[in-house]
C-alpha cells in the first residue's frame, strides 16, 4: 500500500502549558486546508478510542488536507492538570496555541472538527477567528453544563416529582443520604429539580433575563449567528442515542430553528443510529468518519469552504 500521508509529533506552547499533537500532511498536492481535531472533555489520547481520529487524519491526507490532532492541558503527553470540563468554559487557550503553531507552519485556513466539549471549544473559538473555514460538531450539548451537573439537569428534565421523592426515600432508608459526597450530589439533584419546577411555573425562562439552565445557551447560539453571518458552513452530527441530540432537536423548535432555517443551508445536521457522543461502537466510528469526509468534499466542491489563498 503506497503511503498517502506523513506524520510527525509536535510539542507546542499554549498558555502556561506545553501541549502534544501530531501533524498529518498529504504526500500529494495540499488543498490548502488544515483540519484540526478537538477531543471531548476527559482523559483520552490524540488518536482517540480505536485510533478513530488518527484514521480520519490519514483519510483526509489522502484527499489533500493537512490535519492536526492534539490533546488539551493535562491529557495524554501534554503538560498541566486537567480540570473538570465545563461547557461554559471551553479550552480556547489550548486551541489558540495549536492555531498559532499551525500558522507558523504556514497552515492558516482551518476546519475545526470537535467532539462534545471539543465541539463547544471549536464553536467558541470560531466566533472570533476568521481563519476558520468550516466546523464539524459531533454531539455538542446546546445546554451549558459540567460533567458533574449533567446528570442532575437530565434527571430534572426527565423525572417527575414523585420519582424524586421515591429516590430520596430510598437514599434515606439505605443510609446513603448521610455520606457527605453523596449528600452533595443529592442536593445538586434537588437544586436542579427546583429550578425546573420554577421554570415551568414562571413560563418562559427567557422573560426573567437570566440564562435558561435547561435551554440552549447564548454561548451556543451566538457563535452560530456569527458564523452564518460570515457564511461559514457548520455540520452537526448526532446519534439516535445521544441525549444532547434530543436537546438539540428540542432547541430546533425555538431560536436555534429560526437560525438554521435562515442560514441558507449553511447549517446542516444529520442523525445516525447509535452514539456519536463518545463514538462507543466501531460501526458508529466508521459512519462518522465517512460522513465527515463526504461532507467536507461536498462543501469544498461547491465552493462554500474556501481553501487558503482563494
Amino acid at each position: 500500500m503506497t503511503a498517502t500521508s506523513s506524520e510527525r509529533p509536535v510539542f507546542f506552547p499554549a498558555g502556561p502549558d506545553t501541549l502534544f499533537g501530531v501533524l498529518t500532511a498529504p504526500v500529494s498536492q495540499s488543498n490548502g486546508l488544515c483540519v484540526v481535531m478537538l477531543h471531548g472533555g476527559g482523559y483520552t489520547v490524540s488518536s482517540h478510542l480505536n485510533g478513530t481520529t488518527a484514521r480520519l487524519c490519514r483519510d483526509l491526507a489522502a484527499l489533500g488536507y493537512h490535519s492536526f490532532r492534539f490533546t488539551y492541558h493535562g491529557v495524554e503527553n501534554s503538560t498541566g492538570r486537567l480540570e473538570e470540563a465545563r461547557l461554559d468554559e471551553p479550552f480556547t487557550a489550548d486551541l489558540t496555541g495549536a492555531v498559532e503553531w499551525l500558522a507558523e507552519a504556514g497552515l492558516d485556513r482551518l476546519v475545526l472538527v470537535g467532539s462534545c466539549f471539543g465541539a463547544r471549544t471549536a464553536l467558541s473559538f470560531a466566533e472570533h477567528h476568521p481563519s476558520v473555514a468550516a466546523l464539524v460538531l459531533e454531539a455538542p450539548s446546546p445546554i451549558d453544563m459540567s460533567r458533574s451537573d449533567g446528570t442532575a439537569r437530565r434527571l430534572a428534565m426527565e423525572v417527575g416529582l414523585g420519582g424524586y421523592l421515591q429516590r430520596a426515600a430510598r437514599a434515606v432508608i439505605s443510609g446513603k443520604a448521610f455520606d457527605a459526597r453523596r449528600l452533595r450530589r443529592y442536593l445538586r439533584f434537588a437544586r436542579f429539580k427546583l429550578l425546573s419546577i420554577l421554570r415551568r411555573l414562571t413560563g418562559r425562562w427567557g422573560k426573567t433575563g437570566r440564562p435558561d439552565p435547561f435551554g440552549p445557551s447564548r454561548r451556543f447560539l451566538r457563535p452560530l449567528e456569527q458564523l452564518v453571518g460570515r457564511r461559514v458552513p457548520v455540520f452537526f452530527l448526532y446519534g439516535t442515542r445521544d441525549w444532547f441530540g434530543i436537546q438539540f432537536g428540542k432547541a430546533l423548535g425555538g431560536e436555534l430553528g429560526e437560525l438554521v432555517d435562515g442560514s441558507d443551508g449553511l447549517i446542516e445536521s444529520v442523525q445516525i443510529e447509535g452514539n456519536v457522543h463518545g463514538l462507543t461502537t466501531v460501526v458508529t466510528q466508521e459512519k462518522v468518519r465517512t460522513l465527515v469526509v463526504e461532507w467536507l468534499a461536498r462543501r469544498v466542491a461547491d465552493g462554500s469552504i474556501r481553501a487558503g489563498g482563494e
Binding site: S6, F20, T24, V45, R55, V282
Partner: protein, 313 residues
C-alpha cells in the same frame, strides 16, 4: 461490517522534544520512519546520565486510554529521579503506523523489543506491564535476562482476558437494554466474542476492534509461559478495593517463587478500578489527585530503585 479497514498507513518520521523547566527531564516523542511499522516512541531522559531504565508496556483498547495518563505521570516521576523511561504505542495502536487487522501477539512483543533497542539505551532495563500489557511485558522480559519486572493488575492468560472482555461487553449490553426499557433506543443484540470473530474476522469490544490474528495468537498463551524459567525480581500490584488477594494472582505469585524469582505481591487499595469503563464510578477526578495513582507510583518507584541498583537486565 467490511468497512473496518484502517486508512492507508502514513509514512512516518519526525521527532519532537521538550525540556521540563522544573526537573530538567527531556521528553522526546518520535515516530520512527526509519523502521517498520513506524512505532511512536517516547523517551523520558533524566538530566544526568541514566544507567538504568524502565520500559512501559501498555494495555490495549479501552484499557490503553484508561491507563495512558498514569503511565505518563510515572515516566515523568521516575525520570526526575534519574531513571530513563521508554514508552511506546504498539503497531496499529495510537499514533503508530501499521495495520491493526494483521497484528499478532508476537508482533506486540517484537514492538516492545524494538522500543527497548532504541537509542539512548541504558545498561540495565526493568519492564513494567499493565493489565494485558503484562503478558507482552513478560514476553519482552524473557529477552532481557534478569530484568526486574513490575506488573500492574496483570492479565495472567489469554483465556481469562477474553472472559473479562466478554463480561464487559455483556455489562454494556445490559446498560443499553435498561435504557431501552426506559423508552430509549432498542439495544443491539450481543453476539459472543468468539462467534463474532469466527463470522466476521473481528469483534467490537466497547468501541475497539479486536481482530482474529490477535485473538487467536493470544488465547492459548499465559504470562508464566511467556516469561520463561529465568528467575528475576517481580513485583505484582493488584488493584482492588478489597484486601483479599485474587486467586489467579496468588497462584502466579506462588509459581514465580517456585521458579526461584523473588516475587512480591501487594494490594493497592483505595478506589474502584473499572478498567473497561473509561469514566470511573465516582465521576471525574484529576489523575494527579487520585489516591490510586499516587499509590501505584510510590510502590513502583520504591521497588524499582531497590532492584535497579543491582546488575543484569
Amino acid at each position: 461490517m467490511s468497512d473496518t479497514k484502517p486508512a492507508t498507513p502514513p509514512t512516518v518520521g519526525g521527532r519532537a522534544e521538550r525540556v521540563d523547566p522544573v526537573t530538567g527531564v527531556r521528553e522526546i516523542a518520535e515516530i520512527r520512519g526509519d523502521e517498520q511499522p513506524g512505532l511512536c516512541v517516547y523517551t523520558h531522559l533524566p538530566p544526568q546520565p541514566a544507567h538504568s531504565g524502565l520500559i512501559v508496556v501498555s494495555p490495549l483498547m479501552a484499557e490503553f486510554l484508561k491507563n495512558y495518563r498514569r503511565e505518563v505521570l510515572l515516566a515523568r516521576h521516575l525520570a526526575a529521579q534519574g531513571v530513563l523511561v521508554r514508552r511506546f504505542e504498539y503497531r496499529g495502536v495510537g499514533n503508530s503506523g501499521g495495520d491493526p487487522a494483521t497484528v499478532t501477539f508476537p508482533d506486540l512483543v517484537d514492538d516492545a523489543d524494538q522500543a527497548a533497542h532504541h537509542q539512548p539505551r541504558p545498561s540495565r532495563w526493568a519492564v513494567l506491564g499493565t493489565r494485558f500489557g503484562a503478558m507482552v511485558a513478560a514476553g519482552l522480559a524473557a529477552r532481557l535476562p534478569g530484568a526486574p519486572l513490575v506488573l500492574w493488575d496483570p492479565t495472567v492468560d489469554g483465556q481469562s482476558y477474553f472472559r473479562v472482555l466478554e463480561r464487559a461487553r455483556a455489562l454494556q449490553q445490559r446498560a443499553e437494554a435498561l435504557s431501552e426499557q426506559q423508552g430509549g433506543e432498542p439495544a443491539p443484540t450481543l453476539v459472543p466474542l468468539a462467534t463474532a470473530i469466527e463470522q466476521a474476522g473481528w469483534a467490537d469490544v466497547m468501541g475497539s476492534s479486536l481482530f482474529r490474528p490477535l485473538y487467536e495468537t493470544t488465547r492459548p498463551r499465559s504470562l508464566l509461559d511467556e516469561l520463561g524459567a529465568d528467575p528475576r525480581p517481580v513485583l505484582i500490584l493488584q488493584i482492588s478495593t478489597l484486601d483479599q488477594v485474587r486467586p489467579d494472582l496468588a497462584s502466579l505469585h506462588n509459581r514465580l517463587r517456585e521458579r526461584g524469582s523473588g516475587c512480591e505481591l501487594s494490594v493497592v487499595a483505595g478506589e474502584d478500578e473499572n478498567w473497561w469503563f473509561r469514566q470511573g464510578v465516582r465521576g471525574f477526578q484529576t489523575e494527579e489527585d487520585r489516591t490510586l495513582t499516587a499509590s501505584l507510583l510510590q510502590a513502583t518507584t520504591t521497588w524499582l530503585r531497590l532492584h535497579l541498583e543491582g546488575g543484569g537486565g
